[in-house]
């Protein structure tokens, strides 16, 4: 298991939170909620070690379009980058006040 942390600048405060996914084979769980400051903070716990660079690329791309001040917890069980991106987009779509 490896724990990775990333920070991104944010443009707007978030309201609401969302929870999607399962820590099951090839999938991941995302908990998204307001960060309480002017940044987005991502904590990734992943079962697959040595892919920090790939996580950075996926998150760079996601935060190129998403500017909310979110605290994002990712619990990953071997999801591919495509699944990670889909789950991130689903988490944003299902934000509930």
């Amino acid at each position: 298991m490896e724990v990775l942390k990333f920070d991104y600048p944010a443009q707007r405060a978030l309201s609401g939170r969302s929870h999607v996914g399962v820590v099951g084979s090839g999938d991941l769980e995302i908990l998204l909620e307001p960060s309480g400051d002017r940044h987005a903070h991502v904590t990734v716990s992943t079962s697959v070690e040595g892919f920090g660079n790939v996580w950075k690329h996926v998150l760079d791309r996601f935060f190129g379009r998403f500017d909310g001040a979110a605290a994002i917890e990712i619990n990953d069980f071997g999801a591919t980058p495509g699944v990670v991106m889909l789950r991130l987009e689903q988490a944003v779509e299902s934000l509930t006040p």
Binding site: H19, V23, L31, S45, S47, N75, D76
Partner: protein
């Protein structure tokens, strides 16, 4: 066009719990944002899920106050650890307390579990014992309805929890047994059981076989609406009483010669469900 029924098996634990209670009544307790995770898995290098794989919710069933505990089979095989087990046990204990103060709660257990979580060993086993005690205490007041839908099945100590339920609903895809087929093959050899032989495995421990031999009460299709309906019906029926009919089960076991174990079909003849119903 033929409308296919909505699958129950394909739903996550949270979606299953939501599908069981009356529309709009689902209210989760100790949800993922409470972050009641396993403290033991990360110490062993295993990623923990924020709800430890159990969804506990209050809601209504046919208008009556209800509670659902649903196990997520996709997370660690639905295994019962210290936290996930405590969530189910606490839900049962709170339901008992509500019953004792005159406010009965309809309890549904959605069981999708390989049994104890090996990484948490005795703590998981202790929690499973508490779940057993909770079911026995609660069913003195109200029926406790169990559902084994399938993907994982229901094994180990949690198969005892399924047996303790007042009514047990299964699908054909479900499996119910003390030891899972892979465990039997690993421990006793492929000559004892070939775990990859699906017809053999389902013949032994599949939902249809368990229903035909009286070890489950209702056989349903993988249809979320039908399962929700059968859960409602189950509360109107008298309890199955499997775990109190000790003599009847002694006789059933005495009818089997372990030197010449019966086939699945033979066991149906020996233990036809009719002699129990």
């Amino acid at each position: 066009m033929i409308a296919l029924p909505a699958s129950f098996i394909e739903l996550t634990a949270r979606e299953r719990a939501r599908a069981i209670v009356d529309a709009g009544s689902f209210r989760e307790l100790l949800g993922p944002f409470e972050r009641l995770k396993s403290p033991w898995l990360p110490l062993q290098g295993v990623v923990a899920q924020a709800d430890d794989g159990v969804v506990v919710a209050r809601g209504r069933i046919a208008g009556h106050p209800a509670a659902v505990a649903a196990i997520e089979g996709a997370y660690q095989g639905g295994s019962i650890g210290e936290v996930s087990g405590a969530k189910i046990a606490a839900a049962l204990e709170l339901a008992v307390r509500d019953c004792e103060r005159g406010a009965p709660v309809r309890m549904v257990l959605l069981l999708e579990t390989g049994g104890v979580r090996l990484q948490e060993a005795n703590l998981g086993l202790a929690a499973i014992a508490e779940i057993h005690a909770g079911i026995v205490a609660l069913r003195r007041h109200v029926p406790v309805v169990g559902v084994v839908a399938g993907e994982v099945g229901c094994f180990g100590g949690m198969s005892l929890a399924a047996a303790l339920c007042s009514r047990l609903i299964v699908t054909r895809q479900a499996r119910l047994g003390m030891n899972g087929p892979e465990v039997i093959e690993q421990e006793a050899g492929i000559g004892e059981l070939d775990a990859s032989d699906a017809p053999l495995v389902w013949g032994l421990m599949g939902g249809a076989q368990r229903y035909a031999t009286g070890l489950a009460d209702v056989l349903v299709e993988d249809d979320a609406a039908q399962i929700a309906r059968e859960v409602r019906t189950a509360f109107e029926h008298p309890p199955a009483g499997r775990t109190t009919e000790v003599e009847r089960y002694r006789q059933r076991l005495a009818a089997i010669d372990p030197q010449h174990p019966p086939t699945a079909e033979g066991l149906r003849r020996l233990w036809s469900s009719e002699d129990l119903r």
